[in-house]
Amino acid sequence: MSAIIDIQNVSFRYNERDILKNISLTVEAGDFVAVLGHNGSGKSTLAKHLDAILVPSEGKVLIGGLDTSVDSNLEAIRRRTGMVFQNPDNQIIATVVEEDVAFALENLGVPREEMVKRVDEALDAVGMLEFKKHATTKLSGGQKQRIAIAGVIAMRPDVIVFDEPTAMLDPQGREDVINIAKKLNGQGITVIYITHYMEEAAQAKRVVVLNDGEILIDGTPHYVFQNAGLLKSVGLDVPQSTSLMFLLRSRGIKVPLAVLNEEECVSVLTDILHERTGNK
């Protein structure tokens, strides 16, 4: 496995303000990296560097070995990297679902027969095949976001960057999107998932926390959420179950800190209760 994303000492300055400060990060092909951070931490700016929408003020971003600051690399980079944005309304171009999914393919000059096949495949992958002839404006937010993902899948990218894709969705839509992201990662696509929902970040293979344009902590979800105190100090919340463990520990009860979801939480609590009642 080689590094598909290689961010080397990247700084980004905008209006005299340092948004990113000397960030270095490499991502292996096939990884699922969640990027966490509060508003203004620079996480969206970082995402925009991955598809050459922004280029670093200093340092270098290499996508599959291609430098994003070289204009002749643009098409190749955008072909390999897909992006899904926060507002589903602002990334749908066509009025009919299948035409929107085909947009990138039209731009790439894919022949029509191939296009029809890929559009159907992409819509199937997000479970929206039956909506193929529907008007895009009539869909729910979650459905629109799935169409946007299908539009990216149709390009057959190596990397998909999700830039807070669930921020404007209802709980059902959020769950659909994270599940699709996990499924795509299972098929070998590298996923960068920017979010401020801890529960979503907990499902990634690796979590990177940004604070004020710098990497605060980087590691597996278990490792990152163990540092609940550090996360809280920069205004980030840990998943509720982790938070509960944190409180129990401060009361002197010996529990593991990195408990990421409700099932784990329940099993840890029942174990402790069994232990105590067994002692009596």
Binding site: K48, D51, I53, T81, A104, N107
Partner: protein, 271 residues
């Protein structure tokens, strides 16, 4: 309430005319306008009216809908008719004060009204039976040869497509902003024209700001999906192909024009 505004006035359907290739339909509409200007004699007019009504039946959209399109033109219709009645030369039929009415004038007035009526019906037929987006697509393909002389055909059609896509989104947003301002006590319903126009500012400004933000987001999203702005090397997902009914329609149109020319030489009851 604001969502009721229909733009482009498309009536979805599955009629023979609905299913024609949009490129053919645009060409047919242009030819039909030419046909309406060729007809001169009463016989030709009768023929044209019969054909127009036949086409209206073919679209399966009630005639009432077509007549609605005439309403804004009512004034112009009456005005041109009156001008024709009073200002035509020929044998006077009736004379009173400074006005003379001639048989020629009455004939001209009737013909003029019929011609405008048929023009409106036939052009409405194009927009009633073709969705705006398909119409734009058809127009782009028809005009694509003009791109060779550097006319921005692709750019124009992309602009139209995006505008059509965002109309419902922006209408919805207008509704939302209006409600938000009403909740803060804004009053849009009372007062004179100037007061009401002024009351629109708190709607328009947020609407514009949000439209610009959307435009920026959309441009980024389009770039991410490899859009470069040029039509070169692009392929099309929607493909139009001519079916037998398209050829039949074109032949029918040719026959119509030939018939109109011939009928111009036929006189009915001396007209």
């Amino acid at each position: 309430m604001i969502k009721d505004i229909t733009i482009g006035q498309y009536f979805p359907g599955d009629s023979f005319i609905h299913n024609l290739d949009p490129r053919v339909k645009i060409v047919l509409a242009v030819l039909y306008i030419a046909f309406l200007f060729i007809i001169q004699s009463a016989a030709a007019y009768l023929f044209a009216i019969a054909v127009t009504l036949f086409l209206v039946c073919l679209t399966r959209i009630p005639l009432k809908m077509y007549l609605r399109g005439l309403k804004p033109l009512l004034f112009i219709l009456v005005f041109t008719a009156l001008l024709n009645v009073f200002y035509s030369s020929g044998e006077p039929l009736v004379t009173f004060w400074i006005f003379t009415i001639t048989a020629q004038g009455i004939k001209n007035a009737i013909f003029m009204i019929l011609r405008i009526f048929m023009l409106v019906v036939s052009t409405s037929m194009l927009t009633y039976t073709t969705s705006p987006i398909v119409l734009t697509g058809g127009l782009e393909r028809l005009l694509s040869p003009l791109a060779k002389i550097r006319l921005p055909v692709h750019e124009f059609s992309m602009m139209m497509t995006i505008a059509l896509r965002f109309i419902p989104t922006l209408l919805e947003e207008t509704d939302k902003i209006m409600n938000a301002q009403k909740a803060r006590g804004a009053d849009f319903e009372t007062g004179g024209l100037i007061k009401r126009a002024k009351a629109l500012a708190p709607i328009l400004i947020p609407l514009f700001i949000s439209a610009f933000r959307r435009a920026d987001d959309l441009a980024t999203a389009m770039e991410c999906r490899c859009y470069t702005g040029s039509a070169e090397g692009r392929t099309h997902f929607v493909e139009y192909s001519m079916s037998p009914s398209d050829y039949v329609s074109l032949v029918f149109m040719a026959v119509l024009i030939a018939a109109a020319i011939l009928l111009n030489f036929v006189t009915v009851m001396g007209i």
